[in-house]
């Protein structure tokens, strides 16, 4: 079994994200074109002249490269929120120029100014959550409360539409030895450039992740810039994430998982008001869980989980597994038939077991390659 100490070594060999994908050694002509740009469109045109850069900007924005070209030629006009998103994915040294050029056309456009969100939760919203908890049937409570809190949290925490994802991460049930070996993303909501629904991208998380660390340590943490930051916290950048925060879901000194939040903006959670709000929303998500879904800290013994690509190959088999389990249970004359929820839980546990094995293989392979390189 891989230990936490070994995991630290492994985190250090995870592929590094280039801090500035934009290369400074671009052709001089291109640099001149940027300096001479008369409008933000001209500047964008010069930046995306490099096909690699065009693909990078498009990917980080979550837009098609053709859309960028249309913006640059004036064929279509991006809304202000899209311009703000574009600003954040442009090379850092060109952002000031970009802002100045946009302001020539739209004086209301601002630099990366993200006024603090209100630091307290709306009392009416809080009352609504308590009412929801009191009056919603147990079958629907988890779905209702998680979605309600995430809907509200995204509105309040991402008022400038910079782009945010929020995910409820839950401890998997204990393995045969009584310990919790992984976490699973159970609900996710996002604002552009993330898709609105994140369940399709849901994955297992282990000790290699920020969520895993936060659940193991039972304390909230934030990473300011996943592209550049050197930190003792385990983390890796997935998709549009630039900064992230995670807060454990605690009840009676037990833990059920965590609330994981990511933003496209660097240091988004450095604001104490905003970070405090994340903690408050996490404390409301706790209300969606039943007491038996919380585990004593000593039972949290997270292992490493494989990369998303490896996970995806197995996760697509989930529905077949659920249907297979239900069919087999129907044909069993001794045991009672499984409900859908029971079959789903069993299928997730099957997958967890297989993924833990796959992770061990993947990381052993990577360690061996690293060892050979040295």
């Amino acid at each position: 079994m891989l230990t936490f100490a070994l995991f630290s070594a492994m985190v250090s060999i995870l592929p590094l994200i280039p801090t500035s994908p934009y290369r400074e050694d671009q052709e001089k002509g291109s640099a001149n074109a940027m300096a001479d740009s008369a409008s933000w469109r001209d500047l964008l045109k010069a930046i995306i002249k490099d096909p690699q850069e065009r693909e990078r900007v498009a990917a980080e924005l979550g837009k098609n490269a053709v859309t960028l070209t249309r913006w640059s030629t004036g064929e279509s006009q991006p809304r202000q929120q899209h311009l703000r998103q574009l600003l954040r994915v442009l090379p850092a040294d060109l952002r000031g120029q970009f802002v100045a050029l946009v302001q020539q056309e739209d004086a209301s456009f601002h630099d990366e100014a993200f006024p603090d969100s209100p630091s307290n939760l709306d009392p009416d919203f809080l009352r609504g959550v308590w009412k929801m908890r009191a009056e919603t049937s147990s079958v629907l409570l988890f779905w209702t409360l998680c979605k309600h809190v995430l809907q509200h949290a995204l509105l309040q925490l991402d008022r400038q539409h910079a782009g945010m994802s929020m995910t409820v991460v839950q401890c998997m049930p204990p393995a045969q030895d009584g310990t919790i070996k992984s976490l699973r993303e159970v609900f996710g909501r996002g604002t552009s450039p993330w898709p609105a629904e994140l369940e399709r991208e849901a994955m297992f998380l282990g000790a290699e992740s920020l969520a895993g660390y936060v659940v193991s340590m039972c304390r909230p943490e934030a990473v300011g810039d996943l592209r550049t930051e050197t930190t003792y916290l385990p983390h890796y950048k997935v998709g549009h994430e630039v900064s992230a925060a995670a807060c454990p879901l605690l009840y009676a000194n037990r833990v059920a998982g965590c609330l994981l939040v990511a933003s496209t903006v660097p240091n988004y959670f450095a604001s104490s008001a905003r970070f405090r709000l994340v903690l408050d929303y996490a404390s409301l998500i706790v209300e969606a869980f039943t007491p038996e879904q919380f585990y004593p800290l000593e039972r949290i013994s997270l292992r490493l989980m494989p990369s998303f690509e490896v996970q995806h190959r197995l996760l697509v088999t989930l529905q077949d597994r659920i249907n297979g389990l239900m069919l087999r249970a129907q044909g069993d004359s001794v045991r009672p038939p499984l409900t859908y929820a029971q079959a789903e839980q069993l299928a997730w546990q099957e997958l967890e077991e297989e993924l833990l094995g796959a992770a061990e293989e993947q990381y052993n392979r990577e360690l061996w390659s690293e060892h050979k390189r040295r």
């Binding site: 709306d122 929801m132 009056e135 079958v139 629907l140 979605k147 309600h148 309040q156 529905q319 859908y340």
Partner: protein
């Protein structure tokens, strides 16, 4: 119009789960329709400054509109106080000052002067209006719309799927609606509303009436499969009291179907399409 003591006839009930479900559903439908007012020409939209969303539920559509068009004042009304509280809470969370929500019964005269709005929007009213109520309600929508403004209706036939359990459950809903005088089904197979809405607008005196239909494919392998199936599954739970209360099914029957729906709808060979019909016309 219904009398003052008439019961709230919304078939899914005004639970907190329904508020959350409707917000989620708005997002799916807006995406399927290409936007909030996707069928309206730019030249028309540029003249719109005030919009009323009738039977707005938790306000998802009006909130998105206010967010996307800061120059538009969006007003939502709904019979349920809880829905309106929810909408106002969400508006505050968004920091919006151009969205306002009020408690108002859409089946009664609306508390707005004549010609108050540039565009009056109403969606999925088949879930609470009886057949007899429709003409008067449409006339009232026209009254609060300004001359030259637009009245816009969206309704759905709720589609078809390859899930036998969902289809059976949907059939209970349509039969129950038929029994209480909601919907326009002649044989219990369809909701039957969409062929009527164009004529309601014409009968009320709208001109330039136009129509566009959308199909939302949520079959296996599409991005919409999981979210729409979740939505419909939860809806089937919420509509159970209506099925049982009207007497078209027993609690055991609806419970059994509810348990079978996710396995069928989330399977790899699932097919499903929802149909949405948008009809709009101008007030002379």
């Amino acid at each position: 119009m219904q009398d003052d003591n008439a019961p709230n006839t919304y078939i899914f009930g005004h639970t907190d789960t329904e508020k959350v479900r409707l917000i989620e559903q708005d997002r799916h439908f807006n995406q399927a329709m290409g936007g909030l007012l996707a069928e309206q020409a730019e030249s028309v939209l540029s003249t719109v400054r005030s919009v009323l969303d009738v039977a707005c539920g938790p306000g998802g559509w009006a909130l998105d509109l206010a967010q996307q068009y800061p120059d538009i004042q969006a007003v939502g009304v709904d019979i349920d106080e809880g829905m309106i509280e929810y909408a106002n809470t969400m508006a505050r969370a968004s920091g919006l000052d151009n969205a306002l929500f009020r408690v108002m019964d859409a089946s009664k005269p609306l508390d707005f002067p004549d010609g108050s709005f540039d565009l009056v929007n109403a969606r999925f009213m088949v879930a609470f209006l009886t057949q007899e109520q429709w003409p008067a309600v449409i006339e009232e929508l026209l009254r609060v719309c300004r001359s030259g403004g637009i009245v816009r209706l969206i309704e759905s036939e709720w589609g078809g799927t390859s899930s036998p359990s969902y289809e059976q459950s949907l059939n209970f809903t349509i039969l129950a609606m038929q029994r209480v005088g909601q919907g326009f089904s002649v044989d219990g197979r369809h909701v039957g509303i969409t062929p009527h809405i164009r004529h309601f607008l014409l009968q009320a005196g709208c001109i330039d009436v136009q129509e566009v239909a959308y199909a939302l494919d949520f079959s296996a392998g599409t991005l919409m499969q999981k979210p729409v199936c979740d939505d419909l599954w939860v809806a089937q739970k919420l509509v159970q009291p209506f099925h049982v209360g009207v007497g078209v099914a027993t609690q055991d029957e609806v419970d059994r179907l509810y348990e079978q729906i996710p396995g069928e709808m989330l399977s790899d060979d699932f097919y499903g399409t929802l149909y949405l019909d948008t009809v709009w016309g101008s007030k002379p």
